[in-house]
């Protein structure tokens, strides 16, 4: 049996000897339909494999039943693992509620055009804003377009008049820095993300405020701000440990550069934990999770501030769908705290513990 001919509402209603209206109502769960009729209709629809055409339904209802995500395609960059885990979470929710996830991979400069296109062509019912900058121009643009949106992160536009979900990045980096300071570390490096991004500048604020509070030296040569890829961490770590005064601890904004740091340390014969403490922000990226075989988890390798970005994706998607369902429901804001999880890469500062020459670090 070839299923190639698509059966539409008219065909189905003809087969049933009913009007299109009744069939439509029966399938869409209207209460006034006779239950016997409904049963007949549902059965026939199933048998003939009828489903309403997406574009016809959209046209008639004005709802696209789709959410847009724009993937910025910077230079030689990339749909990175943070991004894709977020999408995985959001996508689960969309699928569950019958929404389509629509992805546009375009150069960053064209992002505004995409939103205009989404709006004027009624392609989507809403969008998620990724990687907000401080005073991000996308926010006023989306407002003016009347396109519902939720921001993953915050933009600090002064008004706060938009829905967002964010991790408390400042607090997370405060706690991590404080934790290292408590262990006796005095020279703490920060391998941060791009500080044009709001989350990264917040992280730096957290780090710097603790250094200031505790009267620790603030050395600009210990601070880095780039795209969070593995080779970045590798390069910076090699640079740091070839300098005359290397740090005794490092804060890293993502496990990706943290892996690079660990790789560099291995090459240099420096032991994470024993010789240098490392704390990374851990988004629970899926490819780093051990297969859950029911066994209890070991002590994690990396000490980390942890918050699942995939869970964030789920929640942001839910918030957006709620907002679309109830446009006048007001803005929603959620601020999540990251866990501080102790692994094997942090220990008391060896320099302080034994005020003798530290382990060879060339």
């Amino acid at each position: 049996m070839s299923m190639r001919e698509t059966v539409n509402l008219r065909r189905l209603s003809e087969v049933l000897g009913l009007s299109q209206t009744t069939v439509s109502r029966a399938l869409n769960g209207f209460p006034e339909v006779n239950e016997k009729t409904r049963a007949r209709v549902v059965e026939a629809a199933q048998r003939l494999n009828y489903r309403p055409s997406a574009s016809a339904a959209s046209l008639a209802t004005g709802k696209a039943c789709a959410i847009g995500h724009v993937v910025p395609l910077a230079e030689h960059m990339m749909i990175n693992p943070h991004f894709s885990d977020f999408l995985a979470g959001a996508g689960e929710v969309y699928a569950q509620f019958g929404y389509e996830m629509l992805l546009r991979v375009v150069a960053q400069a064209e992002e505004a055009d995409v939103y205009r296109d989404f709006a004027s062509r009624s392609r989507v019912d809403g969008v998620v804003v990724h990687g907000p900058l401080t005073n991000d121009p996308r926010i006023p643009l989306l407002k003016s377009l009347g396109l519902p949106f939720v921001v993953h992160g915050r933009s600090d536009d002064g008004t706060g008049d938009y829905s967002w979900l964010d991790v408390n990045n400042r607090r997370a980096f405060c706690r991590a820095t404080g934790f290292l300071a408590d262990l006796g570390h005095r020279r703490i490096a920060l391998i941060n993300g791009l500080e044009a991004m709001n989350f990264a500048s917040r992280r730096r604020q957290g780090y710097e405020s603790v250094l200031a509070d505790r009267g620790l030296e603030q050395d600009p040569s210990l601070i880095f701000s780039e795209d969070m890829v593995e080779p970045y961490g590798h390069r910076v770590a090699r640079q740091l440990f070839s300098s005359p005064r290397p740090p005794t601890a490092i804060l890293v904004s993502s496990v990706l550069p943290a892996m690079g740091v660990v790789r560099a340390l291995a090459e240099l014969g420096i032991r994470p934990g024993a010789d240098v403490s490392i704390i990374a922000f851990d988004d629970c990226l899926s490819f780093l999770q051990p297969a859950s075989d029911g066994k209890a988890r070991d002590v994690p390798f990396l000490t980390a501030m942890r918050s699942s970005i995939r869970e964030a994706g789920r929640r942001v998607a839910e918030m957006l769908l709620e907002q679309i369902a109830a446009p006048d429901g007001g803005r929603r804001h959620e601020l999540w705290e990251a866990e501080l999880v102790i692994g094997e890469t942090t220990a008391r500062c060896p320099v302080e513990q034994t005020p003798l020459p530290a382990a060879a670090k060339s």
Copy 2:
């Protein structure tokens, strides 16, 4: 100026004092339109920010201008970096040709339903099949649905009657195994992907055929087959090097488990290259690429069989769009060879070179 009211074809034609027909033709580049008229129309459309409604256009033309991708959501799994880099490549092409990329994140068991939904609701004009199994049931299903598709990989269904793009995985693993054997390695482990997947079983074939050809021992305890995540490589490497007869070389099916292997070796004090040779299949995942700062690249760390999965995504997307444009154009097949790139993780087998006790490997 609020742009919230969407201007449609009727409004635009009223403003211009023309019929909808003429306006539509002018905008869609029909040749019979007076050039002066066309100029007027284009100008007005731009000024009023008119764009045809996506669903209305779809309904009228029967084209969805969208391509579907199904992201399998296994257990605690994941939209992994291989997948997302492929999507990034494909997405570039779609955006370029005015196609939408549509993602469905669903449990593996529901994938067939998604295709049925796509087809019966005319949601998409085609789909990409990811991670084909041998005799993959999705292929006959998609054929029966009349939904155009291209397979990333091959399914070996006997007929080959479908379009695909694949890397020559067998040859790549032949070459890599041969290269290690040439370096004097006799005990070579294989940390493979899930061999239910066609690509993984081909890789194993390549590996085994070279062992057989060269009369090397085939030890089943050196072969592993799991999901290609980082902790997998870590766990297996620890297991291998706590065994009485560890391998002197390891083939790894992805850089993700390879990173885990390297991490385990670091913990054990075993040096990649010098003590154990490692070759990984490198899909050129973006988060592992150094920022291209114009400088010449260093010697890569990992010796690898290399083929850009993102480039594959681009090409698969092109093939699919071509097939949609010319449905009778026949099947297209492309088999890509992976490069063998020498890095720092391969060297002559130390055991053979010095037939003395190898470096401590406990």
